[in-house]
């Protein structure tokens, strides 16, 4: 029981991070209908920026943890959004309106490009950082097993919840959110009604990248190590999460992320840890076969 509770906490933490990345996928898919394959690598770039920022802070002898985290978050969000913007501008915008496969290939190329440029400029070795936040709260001192929620885990879950609330507010209440939803429904009509479609799409990419940057900082703090290959698996799992929750739906992405995180940690804890990726994908296949629009997605009606 205690062990299961601990897995629940770990799974929620993992799921929160997947959810943050999944939102980037789901928003982009919603607005331009393409799988942004490079999104996982944007997340990886943000983790590297976080490592550099933490190292600079350590060299400058900054000891205040809230200050350090805020600084790293701001720096990482700024640069990562710039990357999100640049990727859309170079690789996707020229291909808008062409076949469905062209942007996908260009996205795969971009993903390979980003991975290798990071490997070249930052090195192929694993980058460790000293632990930022240590310790936690003991929730239950059961005999033989202590259930603990670490400060990092708490930080991740709280940040994710706050971001989700802020994000939902932005999409449903602000002018930008309205424009974004308008573009999702009908880009041509939106542009006729005075919505700057290019700007909205650029902003969507930047927002997705910003959320990925938050996830990148969290992963750096949580695991303490980063390498240039983390984007691939995280990206695929986050995409799985987006599809599981119903692609195009923001709460769906979060729910999907949490489910994938929980499934993964319980599977690794009770069944075979080495097959946890197989579990994720098999469950994805099952959901798609039984409920192709995902858990919270609207069923799509195909029209001629």
């Amino acid at each position: 029981m205690a062990y299961a509770l601990q897995q629940l906490i770990n799974g929620l933490t993992l799921g929160a991070m997947y959810g943050l990345i999944a939102i980037g996928y789901t928003m982009v898919y919603g607005i331009i209908g393409m799988i942004n394959f490079a999104h996982g690598d944007i997340f990886m770039v943000s983790a590297f920026i976080a490592v550099t920022a933490f190292t600079i802070l350590a060299a400058a002898d900054v000891t205040s943890i809230p200050l350090a985290l805020t600084f790293v978050l701001i720096v990482s969000i700024f640069f990562t959004s710039a990357y999100g913007w640049a990727v859309e501008r170079t690789a996707y915008r020229p291909l808008r309106g062409s076949t469905r496969l062209a942007p996908l290939i260009s996205a795969i190329g971009m993903s390979i490009f980003l991975q290798n440029s990071v490997q070249l400029t930052q090195g192929a070795r694993v980058k460790p950082i000293p632990p930022v936040l240590e310790g936690g709260v003991v929730l239950w001192d059961a005999p033989g097993f202590t259930v603990q929620i670490g400060w990092t885990q708490m930080l991740i879950i709280v940040t994710t919840v706050v971001l989700m609330i802020a994000f939902t507010w932005m999409i449903t209440q602000t002018p930008f959110g309205r424009q974004q939803r308008a573009c999702e429904q009908d880009r041509t009509m939106a542009s006729l009604l005075g919505v700057n479609v290019d700007r909205t799409i650029s902003l969507t990419f930047m927002l997705g990248a910003a959320l990925a940057a938050v996830a990148g900082v969290m992963v750096t703090v949580y695991y303490g190590v980063v390498d240039f290959f983390i984007g691939f698996l995280a990206g695929i799992k986050a995409f799985t999460a987006a599809v599981l929750g119903g692609i195009g739906s923001l709460p769906g992405a979060m729910l999907g992320g949490l489910l994938i995180g929980l499934i993964e940690s319980f599977w690794a804890a009770y069944l075979w840890a080495e097959y946890k990726d197989v579990a994720t994908f098999s469950i994805l296949c099952l959901v798609l076969m039984l409920r192709p629009s995902g858990l919270l997605g609207r069923p799509e009606v195909e029209k001629v």
């Binding site: 799988i35 920026i49 490592v51 550099t52 190292t55 600079i56 350590a58 060299a59 720096v75 640069f79 710039a82 990357y83 640049a86 501008r89 170079t90 690789a91 020229p94 291909l95 062409s98 076949t99 496969l101 062209a102 942007p103 996908l104 290939i105 260009s106 795969i108 190329g109 971009m110 993903s111 390979i112 490009f113 991975q115 440029s117 070249l120 400029t121 930052q122 090195g123 070795r125 980058k127 460790p128 950082i129 000293p130 691939f232 695929i236 995409f239 799985t240 599809v243 692609i247 075979w272 097959y275 990726d277 994908f281 994805l284 296949c285 798609l288 076969m289 192709p292 799509e300 195909e302």
Partner: protein, 446 residues
């Protein structure tokens, strides 16, 4: 990284400078965290190192590159306008001319590929690279059935390649099967995997199909890595027997009471014999694939694939069984991938899950899409390019995958329809008699 945006009008020099300055500024922002700063290991801990000189050089390169790009785009546009004003050829004429050129190029390529090992009979490197190109051509043609003809986006094609390779490896090392016995069986196995996977998922819409196939590819790889008793785990399977030439082995010394390839033909033994034989083997396999796929396109099932790609709802309305049609495309694509896998295992003599990663699937898909979907010659062109780009990059080896990724993006941005986007019309009506007035539009292009 310079943004390639095609403005609607030609720019004045000042505009060009401002534009390049803006791009260089973006490059500066992007470059600071990755190029300008790097973390290095200093006595067990990370320290920051600055490389602002390198960053400035990179930004200057971006500025110059952007200026040059703008200038050449404007130049090209002016020239094209001038040419269009003079030329009276219609688009159909030009497409037809292009198709003729492609056909001629195809025959030249065939001649060159037959002659290649004769010309380079002592150059191991060239024959090896050419064999690799042909493996990718065959994989590309196989995937072309699924993606190019049937329009099903498959991101896990490498799984079938792996099924073929491992079937041959296991059949030959465990049960002593030869290459020629294992080839059809492995192909059939790969095809049944295709049906097994395809049956539940082919009802899904395009993008979901893509992600599920990607997942399937990863599942196969994870199983191959972890199920050590079955597949040898990460170490893979080694000493896989090589194919023989009608029973003649490519060994230095002839077996007891028999002949080796060299002794049978009275040749002096050379390690090149096997390489050249393997080259011709994959050439024949690839050509058979080509002939097979070209024939299929003219059969009802091939027509049905292309109809399905164009409009699934219309196909359903016509009473076609879309599931069976999709399944047949999936199974045939998988079978061809399986054949390529058998050849790969036989050629390498060693396989491990390393060879069947997602990157491999991405490369094969890139070959199909870069070549121009559904275009058989395009696959050849793209496969050659994508294999050779990293090879030319070998001199600065660590940049090759970087170049590869950049090339994928640039080719797509430059030609979104692929390098050879014009396809041979599936149906070509005979030109009508002159006397009949309605002679226009006799070609049904796809």
């Amino acid at each position: 990284m310079s943004a390639i945006v095609f403005a609607r009008h030609a720019m004045t020099p000042t505009e060009r400078l401002r534009d390049a300055g803006w791009v260089a500024f973006v490059g500066l922002i992007l470059g600071v965290p990755l190029i300008g700063l790097t973390t290095v290991d200093v006595g067990g801990r990370l320290g920051v190192e600055t490389r602002f000189g390198l960053l400035l050089a990179a930004v200057a390169a971006v500025f110059a590159g952007r200026l040059l790009l703008r200038w050449s785009i404007d130049n090209m546009r002016n020239r094209k306008l001038a040419r269009d004003r003079v030329s009276t050829a219609t688009a159909a004429d030009r497409a037809h001319g292009a198709q003729r050129v492609v056909n001629v190029l195809g025959w030249i390529a065939l001649g060159a590929s037959i002659a290649l090992p004769i010309v380079y009979s002592d150059n191991r490197y060239v024959v090896d690279i050419a064999t690799t190109v042909l493996i990718y051509v065959m994989l590309g043609w196989g995937l072309n059935v699924v993606v190019g003809l049937a329009g099903l986006l498959d991101l896990g094609y490498v799984a079938f390649y792996a099924v073929g390779a491992y079937s041959y490896a296991l059949l030959s090392t465990q049960y002593g099967w030869g290459f020629w016995e294992a080839l059809p069986v492995s192909g059939a196995l790969a095809a049944s995997f295709g049906i097994l996977l395809g049956y539940p998922i082919l009802r899904l819409r395009g993008d979901y199909l893509a992600i599920v196939t990607l997942g399937f590819g990863e599942i196969i790889r994870v199983i191959l890595v972890n199920w050590t008793e079955f597949s040898g785990g990460p170490n893979g399977i080694s000493s896989i027997p090589r194919p023989s030439f009608f029973g003649l082995e490519f060994t230095r010394s002839a077996p007891e009471g028999g002949h080796s390839f060299a002794s049978f033909f009275g040749l002096e033994f050379s390690a090149m014999h096997r390489l050249i034989f393997l080259y011709y083997l994959i050439l024949v396999l690839a050509l058979l694939t080509h002939a097979f796929v070209s024939r299929l396109r003219k059969l009802p099932v091939g027509r049905a694939w292309e109809a399905l790609r164009e409009d699934e709802i219309a196909c359903k309305a016509m009473g076609m069984n879309t599931t069976n049609i999709k399944l047949s495309a999936f199974a045939i694509g998988a079978m061809l991938g399986g054949f390529a896998g058998v050849f790969f295992a036989a050629r390498q003599g060693f396989i491990s899950p390393e060879s069947f990663t997602f990157t491999e699937s991405a490369i094969i898909l890139a070959i199909v899409v870069l070549g121009g979907m559904g275009s058989q010659m395009g696959v050849v062109l793209a496969a050659t390019l994508l294999v050779l780009i990293p090879e030319f990059g070998r001199n600065f080896a660590e940049y090759r995958m970087l170049l590869f990724g950049a090339a994928m993006v640039l080719i797509m941005v430059w030609k979104p329809g692929g390098l050879l986007s014009h396809r041979e019309p599936t149906v070509r009506l005979k030109p009508l008699q002159r006397s009949k007035p309605a002679a226009a539009g006799t070609e049904v292009a796809q």
